[in-house]
Every structure is written in C-alpha cells, then in structure tokens.
Symmetry: C2
Subunit: 155 residues, 2 copies
C-alpha cells in the first residue's frame, strides 16, 4: 500500500519535524513517481510545483525521509545517488531498468545460505549485503528492439 502525501506529513509531525510547504512538495514529487530520481531531478520537479524550494532543502528532506526509512536510496552503477518511495516495510532489494529507471522491489533474495557459508569459510561477521539487479524492463526491451531495427535499415 502506497502512502499519501498527507500520511507522510503526519509521520513527519509524529517525529517532531515541521511540515513546511517545501517539504510537502518534495514528498509529493516522490509520492507521484514510479521511477528513482536523483536529488537534482527531484529539485527540478519540485520547483515546477512550488518555485520557492531550494536544492539544499531537497537534500535535507531526503535525509530525513531516508533516516525514517520512508524512502530507498539506490546505489546505481553510475554512482549517482537516487531515491524512491519505499513500497514495503520488509527488507527488500531492487530490480532496476537501466533505460527508464523503473524499479521493482523483491524480497526473498535467498542469500541467507550463501551468507552463512561465507561467514563460516572466512570468519567474517557479515552485517549487511548490497544487491541490485540491472536490466531492461519489458517496455524498454521492445523500444530498444525497434530502434536497433531502424538503425539497421538506415545503414
């Protein structure tokens, strides 16, 4: 179940954060996007809704939301931070379309056994793991296929 902007505002208040217009706008941008976005993308979208939002405030709001576990931070391959609303309470991982940025969550990564094995073999006390899958979503596969076909005809 996806949280609304109002519900998120309540959560912020519950944690003694003030709900300013700027924060509402940033939250709103996140709530209404299905793709992961970098801070500057969020900033641009936020400005369209409310010109009096600064990039600094975007960063600060993302910090707060991240700290409360309300948004996910993606460690994408090109090493840009990227954020999106968290869809589930459970620990999970992401499957990310490298073309359009669409993100699908999945739980049950099945790495428990591997983690145990590695821990035994190496003596490491494993604290966490980072797992992301990258590829093309259904939609972008067809687009890419079409484009490649056209390029072939062109040459």
């Amino acid at each position: 179940m996806r949280l609304t902007t109002d519900k998120l505002a309540d959560i912020l208040r519950e944690h003694n954060y003030k709900v300013t217009p700027q924060r509402r706008v940033v939250v709103d941008v996140l709530v209404h996007s299905n793709e992961h976005m970098t801070p500057s993308t969020i900033y641009e979208k936020a400005r369209q809704k409310h010109p009096r939002v600064g990039l600094v405030t975007v960063y600060r709001t993302l910090d707060i939301l991240s700290g409360l576990g309300l948004i996910c931070e993606l460690h994408t391959l090109d090493n840009n931070h990227s954020y999106l609303m968290r869809e589930t309470d459970k620990p999970h991982h992401h499957l990310i379309c490298s073309e359009c940025g669409k993100v699908i969550d999945f739980t049950d990564c099945g790495l428990g056994a591997l983690e145990k094995r590695l821990s035994l073999e190496t003596g490491f006390e494993i604290e966490e793991h980072l797992l992301e899958f990258h590829g093309l979503c259904c939609h972008c596969q067809t687009i890419t296929a079409k484009r490649e076909k056209n390029e072939k005809t062109a040459t």
Copy 2:
C-alpha cells in the same frame, strides 16, 4: 596467482600502453596492497614512492587497468569508488571488511536461480547484478570487542 608489477607492465605494453615510471608506481601500490583503496589513497601512497605523480595520472591509470580487467572497482556503501588488484579471472563478488578494508573474493553467488525467477515474473531482461557483502573480518572483530570492553570499564 598474484601478478607482479613487471608482469603487469608487460601486459600494458602488449596493449600498446607505454610503461612510464608513474604508471609503474601506481601499479606497484595496487600490487602491494591487500585492501581496497580510493584514488586519493592510491595517490598518496604513490607519492611516497615517487613524488612526481599527479592525481590525474592515478585516475588515468586506474581507467586503463580497469578497462583491461586487471583491477576491480568496488561500489562501496558510502558511494566512494575504490579499487584493488583482481585476483582471479572468473566473475566474482566481494566480501569487504568495513573496518580495515580487507577484501575476500568469492565466486558462485548462486543468484542464477533468483535471476531466472525474477526475469520470468517481471519480464525484465537482466543484464547484470551488483552484489557485495559487508561485515567485520576475524581480526577486526577481536579489536572491536576489546575496544568495547575497555569503553565499558572506562565508564
């Protein structure tokens, strides 16, 4: 089997890269470290051996070595690029000590089944995955345990 600086110099020459003193020093730093290092750490260590090395050259050399698949690039949690000599030809992943930076390679991540399942369920064409384990190595566990004990006695 670990490659030597000389062997790596040969590989560079084979690929029509000149083997300059600066490149040798950067390679040497990498060869003689068991930990992953950021470009600026490599830069500092390189300068100790040979003061006439610029940070730019470190970046350029890392690019070359990375392009030839001779070093691994780590996507660490704090989003800093970090590099270390590649120990194996096989595709592999890393187990990283968050305290001392020690890295252990492992193959057989066993994610093939999960990848297939996700592909079927979501229609994604999965191109690659990013997997890293983070934790404390044997040695750092005991150090941390000692420190915590001392802190308890102190208070």
